[in-house]
Amino acid sequence: MAYLLNTDEQVKEMLDTLGLKTLEELYDYLPKELIIDELNIPEALGEIDVLRSFQNLSAKNKVFSSIFRGAGSYRHYIPAVVPEMANKERFKTAYTPYQAEVSQGTLQSIFEFQTMICELTGMDVANASVYDGASAAAEAVSMCRDRKKKRAYISGGVNPRVINTVKTYSWSFNAPVEILEQTKDGLVDIDALEKTEHTDIAALLIEQPNYYGLFEDVSKIVEVAHKKGIKVIVKVNPIAAAVVESVGECGADIAVGEGQPLGIPLGFGGPYLGFMACKKNLLRAIPGRIVGETKDEEGNRAYVLTLQAREQHIRRETAGSNLCSNQALCAITASVYMSSMGPKGMEDVAMQCYNKAHYLANELGKIGFKLRYNSEFFHEFVTESPCDIEKLNRYLENNNILGGLPIENNGILWCATEMNTKHDIDNLVSLCKEVL
């Protein structure tokens, strides 16, 4: 679909129909004091000047050659085919038309994305995506609330930025949120969950692996929560999802996650991709768009926006969500990534992340960075710091390395992915040693 400006001729025709001489006359009804004569913006620039000014801006970015930090955003290898496909004009510039079915290609690409997310999470239904992992988690909490149950429990092991997003959403629903403090092993406190006296808990949000990189016993948590009538939302890392028991297999009700690791560059924090999938019984509560497959009157395969009665333009004030868009370009990027990697490729990435993170943890342990938790971890882990963390990270920065993230109580949250070579890791460890 083309987005073209109206020609002068068309504008004149419209004005003539309205009986007006100029466009300004259209706005005559506005109070004069509200009209701005001149916008305070700089003069237009030529192409070469625009390029230069953006180059100057981007030169301010510090691009590290080696990154040992994750905490929600992860540097992974992006196969060349991913941007090549996703940047095709028909994907990149296409906005879903208001009569969405006109654009069968757009709908099919979303349908494929939904299918892959269902496979990855072991769930029955996925939506067309949301803005990011944090908003996906917050929307999932809203899905679980009903007339009687409003309270949400969030494991203290969930990414703090996700917790804040859920709190913000819940505040607007006037619904209570409580943090379930972790055990000393850094995991969901199943005993505390079992002992809770609240009877109005709609949902428990956990993360797999959690913010500190640790694997949760999701099946056990689900078992205990379900006995209490609490629905379980698992925010899962999509790379880890390739190797751990799926969220669906663990019996959880909703899977959400941050899709950035699926071929989307770190990009200074966005645009990212939230994915959401659920069991069939929650189908009518999942927000946003769902693309379905059907047949047209000639029996050809066709794609449609489906179950729209869930959506806010029909439910109006009783809608559980105001979500009315999706993150199509990022979803396409993730789809291309998943299909080019395949299940085997994603498993390989996951195992490389796991092995490299464990090698890193082991090497750091040898020079005095002791692991804070005993639990099994994926590609992130927390160590105590035997030195001043700020000084350490400054030293690493001078060597073009982004070190681990400083966290509470003088801890460091480290991360390794397939991008960190053994040489990189050994180099990091010897630099750390120099600071001690």
């Binding site: 007339r147 009687k148 009518r284 009665a309 029909i314 439910r315 009783t318």
Partner: protein, 128 residues
């Protein structure tokens, strides 16, 4: 369809059938006709407390979602499980198989009409 004489009716188009201390609640023929083909009924749960004139259930037709308002205050003791798989029962048999809930421990009742009064009321609506 004739509105049965033995039922009472609310202005929000719900019907009430008294069964001893309990009541059975559904929506009227007029309501199902206005809503069109139902595709989903979001039934409440047994044990839910309901309040007269407040929403306790919503129904989804092809183009709209509408709230169902409770004609009484009380506690839900049974829900029509049939509606989960066959929401169209409400369209086909609003006063029979299409019942929605059974309510007990009633503490308050909305102003209700007889079949004749309700019919007159509907006639005034369709004239508008």
């Amino acid at each position: 369809m004739k509105n049965p004489e033995n039922l009472k009716y609310s202005k929000d188009h719900e019907w009430v059938r008294e069964e001893g201390k309990k009541v059975v609640v559904g929506i009227t023929d007029y309501a199902q006709e206005s809503l069109g083909g139902l595709v989903y009924v979001n039934v409440p749960e047994v044990g839910d407390e309901v309040v007269a004139t407040e929403s306790f259930c919503d129904v989804e037709s092809v183009k709209a979602v509408s709230d169902i308002y409770s004609p009484v205050s009380g506690k839900i003791v049974a829900v029509n499980e049939l509606l989960l798989d066959s929401p169209e029962s409400i369209n086909e048999d609003p006063y029979g198989n299409g019942w929605i809930v059974e309510i007990d421990e009633i503490t308050d009742t909305d102003e209700l009409m007889t079949a004749q009064e309700y019919e007159d009321y509907c006639n005034t609506l369709s004239k508008e």
